[in-house]
């Protein structure tokens, strides 16, 4: 039982970060119908901006977090403005390929900045750890778990009660109809990318704490996409649940099955899971099934 908890609790912590990346993807999909591969990069750059604030500039946390968020907001806005705005009205698949192109372009810049090294800020931020029934839990991870839940709660409230949030939901239904009711679809698109960049950057700061900032970091974005597909591409609660499930499942597989096959199962578990989900429930746990007309 203790071993099980030892695997489950860190799994929940990591899973909450997956859920956050997935939330960024879901946000974009919900209002623009674009599935984004680019959020892995927004996440990685969020972590990188945070590291820059803390290590080279030696800023206190109160300044480093707003700085990283501001840079991410600027980046999310820039990505939407330069690359996706010209594609409004084009087939959705070309927007998907565009996010893949953005991923590549930013990946090169990310690696150029890293120069093959790996950066870490975990040592600067150590707030110590405590034990519950013999399981060590780091305080920072607990805080990040809390932040994730807070972000999800505020997103849910935002979509439900604010005018902009309702506008975003209307935009998701039909661009032309919502435009004729006075919603500015372009502003909504910009806003949604800024929001998702913020969410991705928060996920990046958390992920950068768990694992170092080095070249595979952007590929967490693919994991986020898997989680989003698992939970259903247009469902925020689905993203949260699926993220937690994937995080726990990965740790359990690493703990119980890896010794049997000689390691490495953790990396492939998510992809195997995705294949099974797509075959059994193509629209995910809570996704809307779309009915098409010719």
């Amino acid at each position: 039982m203790k071993e099980f908890l030892q695997l489950t609790i860190p799994g929940l912590m990591v899973g909450s970060l997956y859920a956050l990346v997935a939330a960024a993807v879901v946000l974009v999909y919900k209002s623009t119908r674009v599935v984004s591969l680019a959020h892995g990069q927004l996440l990685a750059f969020g972590a990188l901006f945070f590291w820059m604030g803390i290590v080279p500039f030696n800023l206190p946390l109160v300044l480093a977090i707003p700085m990283a968020l501001a840079c991410s907001i600027w980046m999310g806005w820039l990505v939407e403005r330069i690359t996706l705005r010209p594609l409004i009205g084009q087939p959705l698949i070309s927007a998907f390929l565009m996010t893949f192109a953005i991923f590549m372009a930013l990946d090169g810049i990310f690696q150029l900045i890293l120069k093959g090294e790996s950066k870490t800020y975990a040592t600067r931020l150590s707030l110590g750890e405590f034990e519950i029934i013999g399981i060590p839990i780091r305080v920072v991870q607990l805080i990040s778990f809390g932040v994730v839940l807070l972000v999800f709660l505020s997103l849910a409230l935002f979509f439900r009660f604010t005018k902009t949030g309702l506008g975003m939901r209307a935009t998701a239904e039909d661009h032309q109809l919502s435009q004729s009711t006075g919603i500015n679809v372009r502003t909504i698109f910009s806003l949604i990318w800024i929001f998702s960049a913020i969410v991705a950057a928060i996920a990046g700061m958390g992920t950068g704490y768990v694992m170092d900032i080095h070249f595979p970091l952007p590929y967490i974005g693919i994991k986020g996409l898997i989680v989003a597909l698992f939970g259903g591409l247009d469902s925020l609660p689905g993203a949260l649940l699926a993220g937690l499930i994937l995080g726990v499942l990965e740790n359990l597989i690493a703990g119980y099955l890896d010794p049997l096959v000689g390691g490495g199962l953790k990396d492939v578990a998510a992809y195997a899971l995705l294949l099974i989900i797509l075959l059994v429930k193509p629209y995910g746990l809570f996704g809307l099934k779309r009915i098409e007309r010719v």
Binding site: I93, A101, M104, I109, Q111, I226, L278, L279
Partner: protein, 348 residues
């Protein structure tokens, strides 16, 4: 579009790929150039042509499944790996001749590709694209963990040999690679003109409408995956015997992403587009490799080895530009050029 005054009098004329004498002259000239190239070409250009031809074969397969049939596949690198490993095992461990192992590795890659195409029954678009990414990782994980594929050590297949003659250098295997590439191009050019190719295009344009018209969706989608993986497998086998070393590091997701990029730049739904896309991106890559060290010496702050990351960035930026300004790719430009050349001096 053809200029006025050119009429086809027989069906064979209407169906011909090479219509006029100038086409034949161009074909024979190109063949002569390709087959005599090792006599005067330098080592660098021969190996460049080798890798270009192999890439062309892979992207031809991708063109059939993604450009013509509309099923975007990120799994091409993994299926190339399947072909390479199959060929290496058949020749190295079992002692089969390369010329038997080449088609066999294509067929085995194609059969495994059927597994990759299986999800296309229920999902499409980016769902399918994500499924092929998942298939890539599962296949590569299996290759890395199975005993028969040599795990992290990789395999060392022998060079092709026929009647005591060994194709053991770049110049010698060049002839095999070029010949296979030309055959595969001829095959692809013809597949897309047949019933099968037309069915692919119908599925791409609207799969529900295609089904209503009597096209068996699942059969044709699986066929598209089989053909594309067959191409990837053949390319993998050639690669394995050219480099004489197969290792999981040679078939990463980045490679698969590159092939998709070549398809976008070249233009979907066009066989010449494959050639344009591969040539454009590979030459751009070589250019970046050439310029990057100079840039690094002028601006020391970009690091000592900026070539790899710079080429990724340039690739992404080129892709963004193409998607915004030329979504139909270079093949579209080529069609415009051909039309205006034929109709010259008139503009319409």
């Amino acid at each position: 579009m053809r200029p006025c005054g050119t009429f086809d009098e027989r069906y064979s004329q209407d169906m011909a790929i090479l219509r006029i004498k100038r086409h034949w002259a161009a074909l024979i000239g190109a063949l002569l150039f390709l087959y005599t190239f090792p006599l005067y070409g330098s080592y660098y250009f021969i190996s460049l042509l080798n890798s270009l031809s192999i890439t062309i074969i892979i992207v031809l397969g991708l063109q059939l499944v993604s450009g013509y049939c509309g099923q975007i596949s990120f799994g091409q690198a993994a299926f190339m790996a399947v072909g390479a490993y199959t060929s290496a095992i058949l020749t190295g461990t079992m002692g089969l001749s390369f010329f038997l192992a080449l088609p066999l590795s294509g067929i085995i890659a194609g059969l495994i590709g059927l597994g990759g195409g299986a999800p296309s029954l229920r999902i499409k678009g980016f769902y399918l694209a994500m499924a092929t990414i998942a298939i890539h990782f599962v296949v590569m994980w299996l290759i890395l963990h199975l005993q028969i594929t040599g795990t992290t050590q990789g395999l060392h297949p022998p060079p092709p040999r026929i009647a005591g003659f060994e194709f053991d250098s770049d110049e010698k295997i060049y002839y095999i690679i070029i010949t296979v590439m030309l055959l595969m191009t001829y095959g692809a050019r013809n597949i897309v003109r047949t019933r099968v190719g037309r069915a692919f295009v119908a599925i791409r344009d609207n799969d529900l409408a295609a089904e209503v018209m009597g096209i068996e969706l699942y059969r044709y989608k699986l066929l598209a995956f089989f053909i594309s993986c067959f191409y990837a497998g053949i390319a993998g086998s050639l690669w394995a015997h050219w480099i004489q070393m197969v290792h999981p590091e040679q078939f990463t997701l980045l490679h698969a992403l590159n092939y998709i990029g070549m398809l976008i730049v070249g233009g979907g739904g066009s066989i010449p587009g494959v050639f344009f896309g591969v040539l454009f991106l590979r030459l751009l890559d070589e250019g970046v490799m050439l310029i990057a060290p100079m840039l690094a010496s002028v601006f020391p702050w970009i690091g000592i080895h900026p070539a790899a990351s710079m080429s990724v960035s340039v690739f992404g930026i080129v892709l963004i530009l193409f998607l915004i300004f030329e979504p139909r790719g270079l093949a579209h430009r080529w069609e415009i050029f051909k039309a205006s050349y034929r109709l010259y001096p008139f503009s319409h």
